[in-house]
């Protein structure tokens, strides 16, 4: 580990903390439906959308209506993308003349992008036409991110409102978030990326003569704009197959830093928005603190493991850390940090190959995802997942102050507990269940490239990434089979919407409740004690469930590595 490495990690953390409030304020304006500077240009567009769709943005929806509209919206979008991919060959915008995308791959990809997962069972540049990328996929980068943030708003309203029947208007939320937050920010980021050398063109291929005199075809495309939303919306689906490791996607350490920051930006901002919405910004800071502590713990383990390297190689005289699968322009610290950021949030972009990480370096991203990506997390999804744990933490320990547990002024009762457990149980059920299934079925066993615990990690990682809607790939697993495409598709769908619906039900139930004013007798949910308690509950309830699987995967892998056994 180096001083520069730690400087990068701590500097990154400091910038994230600094960004939380300004972005939180921006998000809060959208949460409240207030005007932002972007309204000057875009307000007519917003009104135009509503008029076109016949929507009254002021009409509030109860949680059920909100949920149904959200589900319909997502189902229609998914069907649309499926159609675009299947019809790719006959649609325009296909300069390479690519064939239609296969059935199971289209199914998997449509779900993947709808659920903000962006799991890619295909090589981006070799499978998708420009139209498919821009219309079929990029549309989701915006809308699935906006959906996530809208859902977080709905839950915030549940906590903030008193004896109310409604949690907002889904269409208004999605439209405003897309127009006034994602679009302006992406425009700025795109320009920044272009300035840093990321291509932005509709030309398909450029033939160049290399220094050695050979001719090479370089694939280009609208990369910069794709990068902007890919990170900001925690989508993670790259233009190129190797994602942010590709020099056109992520050419310099500066773009690397901007990419990492834009992954965390909205998630961190939403914690502040939450605090503001419930009338006490310290509530938001407490959540962000717990997140950042978990984050730094993960980075420390990962960076340490990667910097320590592989003892087997050391014996062969190769000194230093583990550089396998990493880009030299980023090095160990920036790669380890990126891997933790992208899995802490549900982004899934990679700038190095996680499969080539040391076992413990690979364990951290895995564990991050198994916690449900609540360490900052996906846009919207991170905070609502975290709040589910907060509800459980308040319930488990809240009784210890001798009162019915309350969180930010709302009593946590049987209904909330039931729904929170239901939502949280989806993760272990799908991740562990599908991994176990694939560990015994022939189709499943055909997937992993490696043997032993490392091969097991590859299967575990794939399902974890899918269920948690991360989309990062451990690589090493051949996932473009009907078995994996189908099962991972189901995993992504369940992992997203089977969490969302109970979560929205909680929002509805909380909104209907009275507000209990906080006093000296109320359970304290700011302060260090609460932060510690949250971390404890998250690690015990969220983490311990996965200990057996981790023991048989990365931990066994790591211990074997120490003894010089590799898989």
């Amino acid at each position: 580990m180096t001083l520069q490495g730690w400087f990068l990690i701590l500097g990154f953390t400091a910038i994230v903390l600094t960004l939380a409030k300004p972005l939180g304020l921006w998000l809060f304006a959208l949460y409240e439906g207030r005007r932002t500077p972007a309204h000057i240009l875009l307000a007519p567009v917003e009104r135009g959308f509503y008029r076109l769709a016949g929507i009254d943005p002021a009409q509030e929806q109860g949680w059920r209506r909100y949920a149904v509209h959200m589900l319909l919206f997502n189902a229609v979008l998914m069907a649309f993308t499926y159609a675009v991919l299947r019809l790719q060959a006959v649609l325009p915008g296909n300069p390479q003349g690519l064939a239609a995308v296969g059935e199971h791959l289209s199914f998997n990809t449509a779900i993947s992008f709808t659920t903000n997962t962006n799991w890619q069972s295909y090589g981006g540049e070799g499978t998708m036409s420009n139209l498919s990328q821009m219309l079929g996929l990029t549309i989701h980068n915006f809308l699935s991110a906006a959906t996530g943030i809208a859902l977080a708003f709905a839950l915030f309203r549940g906590f903030a409102r008193r004896e109310a029947a409604t949690v907002g208007n889904f269409w208004a939320d999605v439209t405003r978030i897309t127009l006034y937050l994602l679009l302006p920010l992406c425009t700025v980021l795109t320009i920044a990326y272009i300035a840093c050398g990321v291509p932005q063109t509709l030309a398909g291929v450029v033939d160049v003569q290399t220094l050695e005199g050979a001719r090479q075809s370089l694939l280009l495309g609208p990369v910069a704009s794709q990068e902007a939303i890919k990170m900001l919306g925690t989508n993670g689906g790259g233009f190129f197959n190797v994602n942010s490791a590709h020099p056109f996607e992520n050419p310099t350490p500066l773009t690397n830093l901007i990419q990492m920051l834009s992954i965390f930006a909205i998630g961190a901002g939403l914690t502040w928005t939450f605090g503001k919405a419930v009338g006490n910004t310290r509530q938001g800071w407490a959540i962000l603190s717990a997140m950042m502590i978990l984050f730094l713990a993960g980075v420390t383990v990962s960076y340490w493991a990667e910097a320590a390297g592989n003892p087997a190689l050391h014996q062969l005289g190769v000194a230093g850390g583990n550089m396998e699968g990493k880009e030299v322009r980023f090095g160990i610290a920036a790669s380890a940090l990126f891997s933790v950021v992208t899995t802490a949030a549900s982004c899934g972009a990679v700038n190095a190959m996680h499969d080539s990480f040391t076992a413990l370096g690979g364990l951290v991203p895995l564990f991050n995802m198994q916690l449900g990506e609540i360490v900052v997390g996906g846009v919207g999804a991170g905070i609502y997942g975290f709040l589910l744990f907060a509800i459980l933490a308040v319930f488990v320990a809240g009784l210890m102050v001798g009162r019915t547990p309350e969180y930010v002024g709302k009593k946590i009762e049987a209904r909330e507990v039931k729904l929170a457990v239901l939502a949280i149980a989806v993760l272990p059920l799908m991740i562990l269940g599908l991994t176990a299934l694939s560990s015994v079925l022939q189709q499943g066993l055909a997937g992993p490239l490696n043997k032993g615990p490392h091969g097991f990690s590859e299967i575990l990682y794939a399902f974890t990434s899918a269920v948690a809607n991360n989309g990062s790939a451990f690589a090493g697993l051949t996932a473009s089979t009907p078995y994996y495409d189908g099962l991972l598709g189901v995993a992504m769908w369940v992992g997203r919407f089977f969490v969302i619906v109970p979560m929205l039900a909680i929002a509805g139930s909380l909104a209907a409740k009275k507000y209990t004013p906080e006093g000296a007798g109320s359970f304290p949910t700011t302060g260090g004690l609460w932060v510690g308690l949250l971390i404890g509950i998250i690690l015990i309830l969220g983490g311990l469930t996965f200990l057996p699987s981790l023991a048989l995967g990365p931990i066994a892998d790591h211990l074997a590595m120490i003894r010089g056994q590799l898989f």
Partner: protein, 677 residues
């Protein structure tokens, strides 16, 4: 019953029936009420079957021990519940005996003749005659007569109380005995639904319904069980990948140690014991819901008289006017009070003696003028002398004409001063001449200010309710240290105040006894009716205080909090325990697949088998070890939520994390030493 003695938890007469009952409670129909323990029992049964039909590499003796400890885990849980119930059963038995012997003299048509029927045949509206020595057959209201009644059967207090028709002392309770005179009682409840029946059900815990909080907690425990079922159920698949298999017995052991058996086993015992503590405290809660609500109280409405101040006012000062000396006033006040046997009158006599060594002697031929509601003046006349004592306005009215004198003006000023100081003035006049006023002071109870301070740190606001004028009320409120007061309060004002507080999201507790308190008692989240109160009040409240001591409201809140804290503490402990158990069983289970995983055996347990056995043993014996805590409740002292959470998290959170590491290690050494595995 309801003697406030503290009985030892583990006496033979409690433990033996509880052991028996703990086997009876293995009945699946009953066990299913507690899903976690039901799962444990199902797994224990599975293990028992596996002893016979299983073909795995495990030694029979090892599997036998596992099965035995699993059954013990279940039995420890049912034992804890049975023990908690047992403590109430003895009380219930004596109440039942009382109930069995009740017969009624039911009055027939003409109102004089009666037929004797068993109490169980009485209907609402029947009127019964109860004579000296009779037990009152049913709850009801006295419709005529007055009698002294011994209510020891209900309250444990042997001093008789007066019950009379009309007013606020008309309610009588079945099972209490008339010890003088006779009364006619109109039956107000159906047989089997009276106070006595409710008490029997309550102390027995027979009709115990799960409280909202208990339901939520049970749901959480079920959820955790499902999550751990998934975690354990998927292990065989993982193991198959690694080219091995895990015996079902080991998986079963892991499952049982991970699911929250500790809190599940103790959950109902905690609830029963919480109610029981209240009963021992001579307070009957009509539902567990009320006890829980007590813990959530934000606002306490307390009646001034009897709660904040001692019931009676005390003379504390003589304030002469119009040139009269203090001694002169004291002498006149003393003479006016010689025959006054009210506590206030006696306190005047005492004060006069203390200040001027005046003795109480009735002048010869003196005539006492009694207090009447019309004149509101009392006094004494002897010879030519007339001394009057009474409310300032009444004295001024009785001595019409003196109202304009300088003395009257001065008296009014003093009156205001006294009121502002929280006192009540009594004016004294001698032969039409105003002498001054007696300062009757409301004496705030010793230590009550500190109690309110404690309540404030706990985040509970106190509101004093009084009929006094706002001036007096403000002064007493300041002296007692309450947060707010409601002066010249009518029952409607009380009700409005409760509604207002509730509208702001706060929970309100109050106590009351009169019929006009009933609406407010019903509206309050915790309404404690005094047992001496009317039937209407007792019906409206959700708790009845058998001692009729309104101060208890404060303790009731404490008991409610203690109940919730005990539940939370054991839940946290139970969940925190899982970490150590994982570290005991995971390496033991997987070391055969990947020998490297032996390093996870941080406790250095002797062998995989002894590790698993030790974890299962720890998981089982922690239940009886925590039974005393569950039944007595966690230590409770009033403090703010922050420090309270810090303390409990340190004890039950960190303790729960660390304790099993030590416990399992010790058991492992013992298991090794005894050669059990």
């Amino acid at each position: 019953m309801a003697h406030s003695q503290t009985k030892s938890l583990f006496t033979a007469d409690l433990v033996m029936p509880a052991i028996k009952a703990s086997f009876v409670k293995l009945n699946p129909a009953e066990l299913v009420r507690n899903p976690v323990m039901f799962v444990t029992a199902a797994v224990a049964a599975l293990m028992t079957v596996l002893l016979v039909v299983g073909h795995d590499p495990l030694a029979f003796g090892f599997k036998l021990q596992l099965a035995a400890w699993l059954w013990l885990t279940v039995l420890f849980g049912t034992f804890a519940e049975a023990l908690a119930e047992g403590r109430g059963k003895a009380q219930a038995a004596s109440l039942r005996a009382t109930k069995a012997e009740l017969t009624a003299k039911r009055l027939t048509g003409d109102g004089r003749a009666f037929d004797t029927v068993p109490a169980s045949q009485l209907k609402v509206g029947d009127v019964v005659l109860v004579e000296t020595g009779d037990l009152i057959p049913s709850d009801g209201d006295v419709v005529s007569g007055v009698a002294s009644v011994n209510e020891a059967a209900i309250t444990g207090e042997s001093a008789p109380v007066i019950r009379e028709a009309g007013g606020d002392r008309s309610a009588v309770t079945a099972g209490t005995r008339v010890i003088s005179d006779e009364i006619r009682v109109k039956v107000t409840v159906e047989p089997g639904h009276g106070f006595l029946d409710r008490m029997i059900a309550l102390v027995e815990g027979a009709e115990r319904q799960k409280t909202p909080n208990e339901i939520a907690l049970t749901l959480l425990l079920v959820g955790l069980t499902i999550i751990f079922l998934i975690a354990v159920g998927t292990i065989p698949g993982f193991a198959a990948y690694a080219g091995g298999s895990i015996p079902v017995a080991i998986l079963a052991a892991l499952l049982i140690t991970l699911i929250p058996t500790t809190i599940a086993a103790l959950l109902s015992a905690i609830g029963i014991a919480g109610m029981d503590r209240l009963v021992r405290f001579n307070v009957l809660a009509k539902s567990g819901r009320a006890v829980e609500a007590a813990g959530d109280i934000d606002v306490l409405l307390l009646d001034k008289t009897g709660t904040i101040t001692v019931g009676d006012r005390q003379a504390s000062e003589f304030r002469p006017v119009g040139g009269a000396s203090e001694a002169e006033l004291a002498e006149a006040a003393l003479l006016a009070s010689v025959a006054d046997e009210t506590p206030e009158g006696r306190s005047i006599v005492v004060l006069a003696r203390e200040r001027f060594h005046l003795d109480r002697a009735m002048p010869d031929g003196a005539e006492i003028i009694p207090f009447t509601a019309q004149t509101r003046v009392s006094g004494i006349r002897f010879g030519d002398t007339l001394i009057q004592k009474g409310a300032v306005d009444s004295i001024l009215r009785a001595n019409e004409g003196s109202g304009l004198t300088a003395a009257a003006t001065e008296l009014r000023r003093i009156t205001d001063e006294i009121a502002r100081a929280g006192g009540t003035p009594l004016a004294v006049a001698r032969d039409g001449r105003l002498l001054g006023a007696i300062f009757l002071k409301d004496v705030v109870k010793a230590g009550i200010r500190e109690r309110f301070g404690e309540l404030r740190t706990m985040g509970i606001r106190t509101v004093m309710i009084t009929g006094d004028n706002p001036l007096t009320a403000a002064a007493i409120a300041a002296e007692a240290g309450v947060d707010d007061f409601l002066a010249q309060a009518t029952p409607e004002d009380k009700l409005a105040l409760i509604r207002r507080e509730q509208g702001g999201g706060r929970l309100v507790a109050m106590c009351g006894d009169g019929t006009n308190d009933a609406p407010a008692l019903a509206q309050a989240d915790v309404g404690v009716a005094m047992n001496t109160g009317t039937q209407a009040a007792r019906e409206a409240g959700n708790m009845v205080d058998l001692d009729s001591d309104p101060t208890k409201l404060i303790e009731i809140v404490g008991l409610g909090k203690q109940l919730l804290m005990t539940r939370g503490a054991l839940t946290t402990f139970s969940v925190a325990n899982d970490v150590a158990k994982y570290f005991a069983i995971i390496p033991a289970m997987f070391v055969a697949l990947y020998p490297g995983l032996g390093v996870l055996n941080v406790m250095g347990l002797a062998s995989p088998q002894s590790a698993i056995l030790s974890a299962i043993i720890f998981n089982a014996i922690i239940i009886p070890m925590l039974v005393p805590l569950a039944l007595r409740g966690v230590a409770y002292s009033p403090m703010a939520a922050g420090p309270l959470l810090a303390r409990n998290l340190a004890i039950y959170g960190l303790g729960g994390l660390v304790a099993p590491f030590i416990g399992i290690k010790l058991i492992d050494m013992l298991v090794g030493g005894l050669g059990l595995a």
